[in-house]
Amino acid sequence: MESYYDPKHLPRFAEIGKDAPELWKKFLDWYTAVFADGALSEREKALIALAVAHTVQCPYCIDAYSTACLEKGSDLTQMTEAIHVAAAIRGGSSLVHGVQMRDHVHAISM
């Protein structure tokens, strides 16, 4: 079945570098540095990436960082908690806009 998303695209990610190799190299160097062990561990960074992947709803990133989280030593409970954090921020973000809604309603109401 045709789809805008194809799992076979993920291992072909590097093809994006073909017509802009210098930009691709800069991106890859930066990307690699971002995920290296630092003040945050590689495991913590993979959990953040997994949560963000759900927020941006990227199926490639979800597959890639589900595997990465397991390979960095996280378990399903920790990964589920991470996406709850993402979901809570998304939900909270919607709700906090309700203050704007309330202000607007009060401004135009008797």
Binding site: R43, L70, E71, K72, G73, D75, T77
Partner: protein, 339 residues
């Protein structure tokens, strides 16, 4: 003792993958380069052994667990037990050599009727002794005093625990294994294992609970030490991360779950030539329950035997021997390596 969830072994089920030849054929038919081609392409010579530092004795395939990834296809329905004459031949080799480490594995090695005699005898020869313990064996009434026995003889315990998560551990090793393993680790701590200043070594071994590679050993050890202490009050010395070998019951699971080709590709792509210097086959001699010899426990299960047996082996013959390799060897050379 609460019972563990068990599954019949591949052998009991008369499964095609109980045949080592069938396993090798399946791996060889997968796309991708051979292990030997990959080693050569990295500019390295074929693997050879460089002397024996570890005599690893597989005393049989009986086990009180039936882990889904078991490369031995061990379980309660297996009957292979190392006979008396093979045990004696192992000790003859140990006495006639200066091999420093005697490593007892299985199955559950403690179920061998002469396990404790082997420990006492190897320690009397002043060798370092390792017991590859599945932990739940301590819950069996006949082995309840195992921690104290091993402590008395200063045996190094190498204990299997894939995850600090109950579901992950039980999914791989059988329902009920996690709780019994935690109880056993507490018993080992009570006997002095893993405690500072006792000299009693308790190392844990973790392997992935699915079709993915293990975590970085040092980072995971840091996490586990914190979690095990905080959640259970358990201490241990080192954590070793192992990669699952695509053979036997794990191979069966890879096929059944549709993960085989992707997993083998993952192992192959993660090939790291730097690991070749430290792979276990270079310094280990593996003895099968029937006295046949191998370069490692994985080659043993694939029946890639050396041309000698324990009855005619000498350290001189075994030194500098070529190592039998195959597609499964990518499991020991992926990423940071697996020993």
């Amino acid at each position: 003792m609460s019972s563990l969830r068990l599954i019949p072994t591949l052998q009991k089920r008369e499964h095609p993958l109980s045949s080592p030849d069938r396993q090798k054929q399946l791996l060889d038919a997968l796309p991708g380069p051979s292990f030997e081609e990959t080693v050569a392409a990295a500019g390295r010579s074929p693997l050879t052994a460089g002397g024996i530092e570890v005599l690893q004795v597989n005393v049989g395939k009986r086990c009180n667990q039936t882990c889904r990834h078991c490369h031995v296809d061990a379980g309660p329905d297996r009957t292979e037990v190392m006979p008396e004459e093979v045990v004696e031949a192992c000790f003859r080799l140990l006495e006639e050599s200066d091999i420093p480490t005697f490593d007892i594995t299985g199955g559950a090695p403690e179920l061998h009727p002469r396990f404790r005699q082997m420990v006492v005898r190897a320690r009397a020869l002043n060798r370092r002794v390792k017991d590859r313990c599945n932990l739940t064996v301590v819950a069996l009434p006949a082995h309840a005093d195992l921690p104290e026995f091993l402590a008395e003889h200063q045996v190094e315990v190498v204990a299997s625990l894939p995850s600090v998560n109950t579901q992950q551990t039980d999914a791989q090793r059988g329902e009920g294994v996690f709780d019994q393993s935690i109880a056993a680790l507490k018993r080992f701590n009570e006997a002095g294992y893993g405690r500072e200043g006792t000299g009693l070594v308790l190392n844990l071994v973790t392997n992935p609970t699915g079709a993915f590679l293990p975590a970085d050993q040092a980072a995971l050890e840091r996490d586990w030490k914190i979690q095990m202490k905080r959640r259970f009050g358990i201490e241990f010395n080192r954590l070793h991360t192992l990669t699952n070998m695509p053979i036997s019951r794990y191979l069966d699971w890879l096929v059944e779950s549709g993960n085989l080709e992707a997993y083998q590709r993952r192992l192959t792509e993660a090939f790291n030539p730097l690991t070749l210097d430290g792979v276990m086959c270079r310094t280990l001699l593996s003895v099968g329950w029937d006295g046949r010899l191998y370069d490692c426990d994985f080659n043993q299960m694939l029946e890639s035997a050396l041309p000698w047996t324990i009855f005619d082996a000498t350290p001189e013959r075994l030194a500098s021997r070529p190592v039998a390799t195959g597609r499964h060897c990518f499991g020991c050379t992926a990423g940071a390596g697996s020993t």
